[in-house]
């Protein structure tokens, strides 16, 4: 049955099933779940609350960005690489299930995870760190960070399509940790040496962190340039995804 002709209702049910499968996947493979969820939250509790009580609001924005970045890159990068190697996608392609469902399912998993990280950090900040925000700002932080994951979804997807399941975790760690540090997610960019400061705007997490800082009222500013930067990065990573996709098709022939 041609996917394009599948009735819209069937298709939605199919997406729902992919989402549900992803949830089961999260429950059944805690190896991914625990570190991605626990580490950023633990770091924030240490560095944002205990060690720098004056900077709790600032570090809430940047560490939440850090958490979201990890959740997304690992869900897509490692998840896709592993499942691809297991032959799971070859199997799905033989069924009438829409392939977009894989991406939607993965995105849901990453978004759910990100939301859990953000809300946990927010409650630590609010209940233990003395951070006081309007309801609109708490929800705004969640909304900005979830919607701002687009470039990282694409980056993870691209890497997941290109890398072998053994290489994926290593490569993604190599991308993820320096990217987080150099974008000022652990230490504000303003504390870097001047030459290093100029690097940050060329990295996508920097722009997402700026948006998070703005929406929580920590730093005033105009958000549009940062959204534009995130879109441009998304376009670049989309090219990576296309290359990866073509390569997978070519290899499975």
């Amino acid at each position: 049955m041609n996917v394009a002709r599948m009735p819209i209702g069937r298709r939605l049910v199919s997406y729902g099933q992919f989402i549900y499968c992803q949830w089961l996947n999260l429950l059944r493979v805690p190896a991914y779940t625990i570190p991605t969820l626990v580490f950023p939250v633990m770091f924030y509790a240490f560095f944002g609350i205990l060690m720098n009580p004056g900077a709790s609001a600032y570090l809430l924005a940047t560490f939440a960005t850090f958490g979201v970045l990890g959740a997304t890159l690992f869900a897509f990068g490692v998840g896709i690489a592993t499942e691809r190697a297991q032959g799971w996608y070859t199997l799905i392609r033989a069924t009438p299930a829409p392939l977009l469902g894989i991406v939607i399912g993965k995105w849901f998993g990453a978004a759910l995870f990100s939301a859990a990280i953000i809300v946990t950090m927010c409650s630590i900040a609010g209940f233990f760190g003395g951070v006081r925000l309007e309801q609109s700002q708490w929800w705004g932080l969640l909304a900005v960070l979830i919607s701002g994951t687009l470039p990282f979804c694409l980056l993870g997807l691209g890497l997941g399509l290109l890398l072998s399941p053994n290489a994926a975790p290593a490569v993604i760690n190599i991308v993820y940790l320096p990217l987080a540090f150099l974008s000022g997610l652990w230490v504000p960019v303003s504390q870097f040496p001047a030459w290093l400061q100029t690097l940050a705007p060329w990295l996508p997490p920097y722009h997402l962190a700026e948006l998070a800082l703005q929406v929580t009222g920590v730093r005033p500013g105009e958000p549009w340039s940062h959204w534009l930067a995130l879109l441009l990065f998304s376009a670049v990573f989309a090219v990576l995804v296309i290359i990866g996709w073509r390569r997978m098709l070519a290899m499975s022939k």
Binding site: L112, V119, C122, E134, R219, G221
Partner: protein, 596 residues
């Protein structure tokens, strides 16, 4: 698909996340009794141009809560509970940081009235540093600027810094450096100031620390994780300091033009410079007094002590006026080479006043080529970063609510800095009015004018011994009673040696008389060579710093006494006429001295 337990789990998880977010604490509404009218805990300064220490926001609102900046908002939303103050047409800046002062007497109060909310002292006795440290850590209401201090300075026995009548622990050997630094830091010094001063720039000779001792001091300071800064007045001394690895120079030298190679070394070693341009301007006949007093509101905030220090001049400052362009050229070259500059006034030296002179310093920095924003950064975010002053020099959330409200736009016109409309310290508005405590002058005897100074009062020898110096003077009163001849020697001891004679109106030395009607002092000064200065002592306190005015030899000097607002003619105590150099021995004659 049957609803399974894991699907229920998923829905529960999502529900839990939503509920948690809804429960998160919002900004705490204040109860009415917590909010007193005068001491509102939440203030919104709206409609303002805001320089936040780094950059400018053209239309923004600053929210102050509990002594700190709560938010810098670019939208129009105001917290409901806030007292709103409309800043339309004005600019908010972080409370300024003066990176070079000597904080005696009412210095910290005087500074605060002009929006200087933090001062970095570069030498004062350290006996109250525990108290000042506690004050700057708190967010209480205060009428004083916060103080960071070097405590005692490191100098040689009998060297610069020992002449002020304060006993300073000196050192003479590199081996003493470690214990000396340890002692200062345990007294509460925030950083270490090292004096390299041979007196050469002032035409004198002073004992000074050698390069080896300077190096040992810097090493000992850095080993304890603190900063070492150096006083220099010559390029040679600056080289010694930089070679030793100091973190900053607290003066720009003016003995010779800046060597570009030195500027490059300063950049390479990341050494900052606090040029203290305003005090250099004062000592080169370019006092900031005119610029400061041309704004009436600013002038009205100057205390008597501030007026007096501002009206003083360095001996021979007019003679050095021709060298002033060189100073500005050096400063410009430093800036263009990329050397980090910090604004500092060196108040209360002659021709400076606490607080006000930092505004003049910022203006002079713009004359030397800094943009207005760079000059303002040099008085806010830059010193905060260099000296590790957290939450100061900034108007971002979390920073201390130390704020100046200036009427106008100092980013377009630096002159607007003089229009200080309001100052907040720790989130509370500072009372900018000065307490005027005029003592009734009823018991002061009055003298009529015209008055011949050779007929009334007494001429007495007078030297810098009063200030701890070692100069000598002898008087010869002419039998006709129409002239006074003074001879003597200027000896090193005081920073600016002086010797001469002092006319006392009464029988007791420096007892006050009421000379309110005297408007002009005239006198003829005869000498073959040398520099001369008039000092006028007046007011409540005989020990208050005098007004200093340069005199011209072999001419009739007419001084308009009404021009000096720091001069209290209703309580005039003495006129002094002094030789100030450059030669060691001097002789001069005063004739036809009179008041009209």
């Amino acid at each position: 698909m049957k609803p399974s337990s894991s699907l229920v789990g998923l829905l529960l998880l999502i529900g839990l996340l939503v509920v948690t977010l809804l429960m998160l604490p919002g900004p705490v509404p204040r109860s009415a009794n917590e909010l007193s009218a005068s001491d509102s805990a939440v203030i919104a300064l709206s409609n303002a141009r805001i320089f936040d220490g780094e950059s400018v926001h053209e239309q923004a609102t600053l929210v102050i809560r509990d002594g700190r900046i709560d938010a810098l908002r670019l939208d129009d939303a105001l917290p409901e509970e806030a007292d709103v103050i409309d800043i339309a047409g004005g600019t908010l800046l972080p409370g300024l940081i003066d990176a070079h002062v000597h904080a005696f007497n009412s210095a910290r109060k005087d500074a605060l009235r002009f929006g200087v909310t933090t001062v970095l002292d570069m030498f004062r006795p350290p006996f109250d540093l525990d108290q000042t440290r506690a004050q700057r850590g708190a967010l209480e209401r205060t009428d004083q600027a916060d103080l960071y201090s070097a405590g005692f300075l490191a100098t040689a026995d009998g060297g610069h810094g020992t002449q002020y009548g304060i006993e300073v622990p000196t050192l003479s050997d590199p081996d003493q450096a470690d214990a000396w630094v340890e002692a200062r830091l345990s007294e509460g010094s925030d950083y270490i100031k090292i004096v390299i001063e041979s007196g050469a720039a002032w035409g004198g000779h002073l004992p000074t620390l050698d390069a080896a001792t300077v190096q040992a001091l810097v090493r000992a300071t850095h080993a304890r994780g603190e900063m070492a800064v150096a006083h220099v007045s010559t390029q040679a001394a600056a080289r010694i300091a930089v070679e030793a690895g100091v973190d900053g120079l607290v003066h720009l030298f003016a003995d010779e033009p800046l060597d570009p190679a030195l500027a490059a070394t300063l950049v390479e070693k990341d050494v900052f410079v606090i040029p203290t341009t305003t005090v250099l301007a004062g000592s080169h006949g370019q006092s900031g007094r005119g610029w400061l007093e041309s704004d009436e509101r600013l002038a009205s905030r100057l205390s008597t002590e501030q007026r007096q220090t501002l009206e003083q001049s360095f001996p021979g400052s007019q003679l050095r006026a021709s060298r002033w362009p060189m100073v500005l050229t050096s400063l410009r070259a430093l800036h263009e080479a990329g050397v980090v500059l910090l604004a500092g006034s060196d108040a209360p030296n002659p021709a400076t006043a606490h607080g006000a002179s930092l505004l003049h310093e910022i203006k002079l920095l713009t004359e030397a080529g800094l943009s207005t924003i760079e000059a303002l950064q040099a008085a806010t975010s830059v010193p905060a970063a260099r000296f590790g002053l957290d939450h100061r020099g900034c108007l971002q959330p979390g920073c201390r609510a130390d704020i100046i409200w200036v009427d106008g736009n100092p980013l377009a016109d630096i002159g607007a800095l003089r229009q200080v409309e309001g100052v907040w310290k720790n989130g509370r508005r500072v009372d900018a009015a000065i307490e005027t405590s005029v003592v009734p002058a009823a018991e002061t005897p009055a003298l009529d004018v015209p008055l011949d100074l050779h007929r009334a009062g007494r001429w007495l020898p007078s030297t810098d011994e009063f200030m701890g110096g070692q100069s000598r003077a002898e008087l010869q009163l002419d039998s006709s009673g129409r002239r006074v001849t003074v001879s003597g020697e200027l000896n090193p001891g005081f920073a600016f040696p002086y010797a001469g004679t002092m006319w006392n109106p009464g029988d007791e030395i420096m007892s006050a008389v009421n000379l309110s009607r005297a408007e002009t002092l005239s006198l003829q000064l005869e000498a073959t060579s040398g520099r001369f200065q008039l000092m006028i002592f007046s007011g409540d306190d005989p020990a208050a710093p005098p007004i200093r005015i340069d005199l011209v030899a072999n001419e009739t000097n007419r001084i308009d006494l009404t021009e000096y607002s720091g001069l209290d003619r209703s309580r005039l105590r003495a006129f002094g006429v002094y030789a100030t150099g450059p030669a060691e021995s001097f002789e001069f004659t005063i004739r036809d001295a009179g008041l009209q």
